[in-house]
Symmetry: C6
Subunit: 257 residues, 6 copies
C-alpha cells in the first residue's frame, strides 16, 4: 500500500477521498440490493482502463460475464471490446477457487494479474465467502488471507458486500470485514418526501483524509453521480429521515430576518 491514488474517475467521489483510493489498498463497498454497488465497481474498473490506463479484473461468484457486458453497455461501457483488447478480464468463479488461485504464487489468477498487468480488481461479492464456513473466526481468517493475497499482488481492490439493511438503521456491522479493510464505504436507501433516495458515506479510510459527509447520489445513464449532502433532514442513516424542526418552521413561517 503506497500513498499513490487510484481514482474512481468520479470527480465528486474522488474529492471526498483526497483524490482516490490508495494504490494497493483493499476497499469495502457495502450496500442493499439495487443501491448500485456493481455499477460503481464497474465504473471503477472502466474508468481505470480508459482514463488511467490501469488494466482491470472482475471476479464474480454469481453472474456470468454476459450479464456484465449487458449491464455495462447500459452506461456506454463496452466491456466486451475491452476484454478483446486485453485490458479487462471478467472471471466467473467460486469463493474456494478464488481463495486458492489467488493464494498460491503460480495460481491461475495470479498469473492473469501478472501477465495482464492488472492494477484494479473488483470482487462481486465478498459475501459469498460466508458460504465457506459458519465459524466467524475462520471466516475472518479466510477474508484476511484473501485480502492479503490481493495486497501482495499490489492491486487496488473493491470488495462488494451485500448488506441486508433495506431502510432500517445501519446500526451494527454484520461482519468483521469492516475491521480488516482499508476503506469502508456504505451505500444505502433513504426515504425522503415519499420517495427513495440513495446515500453514500465513507466511514473509514486508513492512511488518508476523507470527507465525512453523507452524500446523495444517483445512477444516471452515464453511471454513478455523487451529489451534495442532504439538507434539512435528520436521521439519514436510520433510513427514514424526518425534517429538522428548523426546516419545518422556516418552510411554514419563513426565516427570521
Amino acid at each position: 500500500m503506497s500513498d499513490q491514488r487510484t481514482p474512481f474517475g468520479i470527480k465528486a467521489l474522488d474529492n471526498m477521498i483526497s483524490g482516490g483510493l490508495l494504490a494497493g489498498s483493499a476497499n469495502l463497498l457495502e450496500g442493499a440490493p439495487g443501491t448500485g454497488k456493481t455499477t460503481l465497481a464497474m465504473q471503477f474498473i472502466y474508468n481505470g482502463i480508459t482514463q488511467f490506463r490501469e488494466p482491470g479484473l472482475i471476479i464474480t461468484f454469481e453472474e456470468f460475464p454476459q450479464q456484465y457486458y449487458h449491464d455495462a453497455m447500459q452506461f456506454g461501457w463496452d466491456f466486451k471490446k475491452l476484454e478483446t483488447e486485453g485490458t479487462l478480464k471478467i472471471i466467473f468463479s467460486d469463493p474456494q477457487t478464488a481463495l486458492d488461485e489467488l493464494g498460491k504464487m503460480d495460481g491461475q489468477f495470479v498469473t492473469i494479474i501478472e501477465e495482464m498487468g492488472i492494477k484494479r480488481v473488483a470482487i462481486d461479492s465478498i459475501t459469498h465467502f460466508e458460504s465457506l464456513t459458519s465459524d466467524p473466526y475462520e471466516l475472518r481468517e479466510i477474508e484476511r488471507k484473501f485480502i492479503n493475497s490481493l495486497k501482495r499482488e499490489n492491486v487496488t481492490s473493491v470488495l462488494l458486500r451485500e448488506n441486508d439493511t433495506l431502510l432500517g438503521s445501519v446500526s451494527h456491522v454484520t461482519s468483521k470485514i469492516p475491521f480488516i479493510v482499508d476503506t469502508y464505504m456504505l451505500m444505502r436507501y433513504v426515504e425522503i418526501d415519499s420517495a427513495i433516495a440513495k446515500a453514500l458515506c465513507i466511514l473509514k479510510m486508513r492512511g488518508s483524509e476523507h470527507q465525512k459527509d453523507i452524500r446523495c447520489f444517483n445512477i444516471t445513464s452515464s453511471g454513478i453521480d455523487v451529489e451534495a449532502k442532504f439538507s434539512g433532514r435528520e436521521g439519514i442513516m436510520s433510513g427514514i429521515t424526518h425534517s429538522t424542526p428548523q426546516d419545518a418552521f422556516v418552510n411554514v413561517f419563513g426565516k427570521k430576518k
Copy 2:
C-alpha cells in the same frame, strides 16, 4: 435479457419503469398478505395476453387453478376462456417439480413454454422454495438455478414472494433473492388517518431507469390502480406514518403568504 419492454398494461405503473419490465428479466414482487401480489401478477398475465398478444403461464404451489379462475373473474378477467383459447396455462405444481421440469431442456414446463410460445410467467410463490432446504446458501443456489432456467427460456417472469412485515418497518431484506433478481418491487400496508392504505415502490431495476416514488395504490374492480405519491407524510416505509410538521402547521394556521 434485451432492452425490449414488457408492460404491465397499467399506465401509471409502466410509466414508473420506463415503459415496462425488461423482456427476459426476472422480477421480484414482494408483499404482506392481502397487499395484492397475486392480483398484480394476474393482471400482468392477463394484459400480456389480451393487450400485447403474449401468451402467459402461471405456476402455483398452493392454490388450485379454480381459485385463479374465480379470483380473476372478480376483475372481469376470464382465465378459463383464455386457457381454452390456448393463450394461458395455469399449472398447480410443487417447488421441486418446477425446479426439475424447468431445469431440463425436455422438461414438461419447457415443452409447454415452447409449444405455447409463452412470453410471461408468474410464480405464486417463490417463498415455497424455502421448504426445499434450510441452508441459506443452498437456497440461493436453487433460486439462482430456477431464475436462470426462466431466463434461458427468454420469458419475462414475475416472482411473488410473501413478506412477513405487516405494518412494521421494512428494515431488512429477509432473503437473498433481492440481490439475484433484476427488479425488486415492494407492496406494503401503511397506516394513515386511522385507515390502512397500500404503498408500492420499486427499489431496484437493473439495466433501466425507474421512478423512486413511493406510490399509493388501490385494488379496484378492474384490478390494481396506481396513484400519486403520498404527501405531507413521513415514515411511509415504517408502516405507521406521521404528518410532517409543515403539514400540521399549515393544516391549523394556514400557509404563509
Copy 3:
C-alpha cells in the same frame, strides 16, 4: 366459494365487508387475549342461526361446551337451547382429530355438517394446530388441508387465532395462515388517554371490496359493537397512539377560521 354473502349480523361490520363474509370462505380472526375473538365468533354463529337460518358448528380445542353456554348467555344468547333445537353443535375436540374427521368423507364432523345442514363453522382456535408440528412448512400443509376440508363442505368458517401482541406494534405476521385464508381480520388493544380501547381492521378480503378503516369497537351486553374510526390519533397499529400535532394545536388554540 361463491359471491353470496354470509353476514355477521353486526351492521357496521357487515358494511365494512360489502354485506358479509363470502359464502364458503375461510376467514381468520386474530387478536390478543381478551380482545373479543370468541365473542365475535359466537355472535357470528348465533346471528347466523337466529337471523339467517344457517345452522352453526363450534369446534373448540380448549374450553368445554359449558363455558360457551355460560359466556354466550352473558349476551342473552341461549346456546343450550339452540343445541336442543338442533341448529347449533359445540364440539370439544383436539387438532389431530378435527383434522382427521374433517378430512375424510365419512368422518364424524363431516357427517354432522351434512346431517345438520351446517353453514357456519367457528374454530376456537386454529393456534392449537401449532402443537402438531414444529416444522413451519408441515404446519402450513396441515392448515391448508384443514381449510380445504372446510371449503369442500362449503361452510363459511371463522378461524380464531391467538396473537401475542399486547400493545406493541403488529409489525409482522407470526404465521403463514394470513397468506392462505380469504379474509384477515385483526383485533387489538390501543392505549388512548390512559385507557385501553379496542381496534379492528380488515387487512385482506379476497374476492371482495372492503373498507380499510381502523375502527374502534366495544364489547357491550349485547355483543360486539363496531364504532367509527379513530380521529386525531396517529400510530393506532403501534398500540400506543399519540395525538396528531393538528389535534394538539386545535385543542389548545382553537381551529383557524
Copy 4:
C-alpha cells in the same frame, strides 16, 4: 363460575370490575418485581376473610409462611392469628405437588379446601410451573389442568405471574396463560417526572363488564390504594411516558378561553 362477585375489598378496584371478581373464576395478576402482586393477593385473601367471611388459601412456591406473616403485618394484617382461627392456610409447596394434590379428588389440597370451606386461593407464583417443562404446549396443558382443578373446587383464584418487563413496553404476552384465564390484570412501572409510578389495568375480564382505564396506584401502610387514571400523559404502557403536546402548551401558555 357464577355471576356472583368476589370483591377485593378495595373500593376503587372493585368499581373497575363491576363489584368484584366472578366467583369461581381464575384470575391472572402479572407484574414486574416490586409492583405489589403479592401485596394485592394478600389483601384479596385478608379482606375475603375479615370482610366477606370467605376462608382463604395461599399456596407459595418460594417464600416460607413466616415471610407472609411478616409482610402482611406491615399492613396490619395478622395472618398468624387468622391461621390459628382456621380461616387462613398458607402452604409452602412445589409446582408438581400442587398440580398433583389439586388434581385428585382426595388430594391433600382438595381436602384442605373442602374441610376449611376455602373460597379464595392465591398462587404465588404460577411462573414456577415453567420449571416443569420446556415445551410450551405441555406447559399450557399443565396450566389448564391446574386452573380446571381450581374451578372444579369452585374457588376464586388469584394467580400471580412474574413479568420481566421493567420499564419497557408491554408489547407481547410472554406466555399462553392470558388466553386461558378469565381475568388478565397488569401491574407495571411508569416513569413520570423523574420518578417511578405504578400503573394497573385490566385487559381482559371474561363474562363481565370492566373499566378500561390505566390507573395509578400506590402501596400505602394499609395496602394497595387505586387512584385516578393518568392525565396529560401518553405512552403509559410503554413504561416511559411523555407529556401530551396539549399538556405542554397549556402548561406554558395557559388554556385558551
Copy 5:
C-alpha cells in the same frame, strides 16, 4: 428480617429508604460497569463499621483484597487498618465455595460471621453465580439458597449484580433475582447535554416505604453523593433523555406570568 434499620450512612440515600435497609434483608444493587456499585458497597461496609459499629464482610469473586484496599483508600477509607482491627474481613472466593461454606452451619464463612459478629455483608458480585449452571430454574434455586443462608445468619447483605445495559432502556429484568430479593436498586448512566450523568432509583423495597424518585448521583472524593431528582427531562430510564416540551418552551420564550 426485622424492622430495625441498617443505614448506608449516606443521608440523602437513607432518607429515600425510610432510614436504611431493613436489618437482615437481602438487597440487590444492579448497575452497568463504572456506575459505582462497588464504591457504594464499600461505603455501606465502611460506614457500618465506623459509624454504626457493625462489623462487615466482603466476599469477592474476582478482585483480590489488595484492589479493595487501594480503591477504598481513594475515598479515605483504610480497609487494611479495619481488617487489622478485626472489624472488617475481605475474602476472595468462588461462587461454589461461597455457596457451600455459607450453607453449612459449621462452614468457614459462617464461623467468620459468628466469631467476628458480622452484621453487614457485601457480595461482589452475585453475577458470578451464573457460571454455576445454565439452567435458569437451577440458578434461581442456587441464588435463593444463598440468600436464605445470609438471612439465617441475620446479616444485612448488599448483593452487587452486573447489568449489561449501558445507555439503552432498562426495559427488562435479565434475571429472576429481582423477584427474590427484598430491595432492588438500580444505578445507571444517563446522557444529558452531551455528558454522561448517573442515576439511581429504588424499584422495590419489601416491608418498607421508600421514595420513588430517580435521583442523580456522583462519585466524589468521599464516596457516593446522592443529589436531587432530574428536572425538565423525560425518558431518564431509557438512558438518553430529552427535554420536556415545557422546558424547551420556557427556555426560549420564558415562563408565562
Copy 6:
C-alpha cells in the same frame, strides 16, 4: 496500580482523565471500525516514548508490523526508527501465545518487557481472545488472567476492542471486559447535519476522577484531536442525534432577550 499518571500526550484528553491513565492500569478502548482506536493506541505508545521516555510494546493479532510502520508514518511517527533505537517493539502474535508468554515468568513477552523496560503496552485487539472459547465464563477467566499478567508486569496497557455498533445506540455492553478493566473508553460515530462525526467518552475510570463529557474528536495529520462537547444536540449516544427543541426555536426565532 499506583496513583502516578501515564498521559496520552493529548492535552484535551489528558485533562479529561486528571492528567493521564493510572500507571499500571488496564484500560479498554472500544470503538466501531474506523473510529481511530489503533491511531489513539499508536499515539499513546509514540508519545510515551518520545515525550515521557517510557518504552512501548504493541502486540498485534492481525496486522503485520509493516502496516503499523506505514500507518504511523502518516502522522509523522517513525516507528521503524524507534524499534531500531530499542524503545519500541511491535510483535505479531496470536491470542493463545500472548496469553501463555505473558503468563509465565520466563515467557518471551515477559523477557522483552523486562529487558526493554517497557512501561506501555497496546493490544490490538483484545477481541481476538473471543476466538479461544465460546464459553463466556471461560472467556472472562482468560481475559482476567491476561490483564493480571499485564498488571503484574506493572505496565500501563491500552486494550483495543472492536465494537460492532456502527450508528445505533450503544445500549448494551457486549462483553464482560468493561466490568474487569480499570478504564472504559468509548469511541463512536455520530450523525450530525448529514455528516458523520466522531465522539469519545469515558464511562468508567477506577480510582480517579474523570470528566463525563461526550466529546467530539477528529483524526488529523498529527493524530487524534479531542475537541469540545456537542452542543444543541440530544441523543449522541444513540448515534443519530437530533436538535434540541431549544436549539431549533432559537435557530428560527432568535433567542429571547
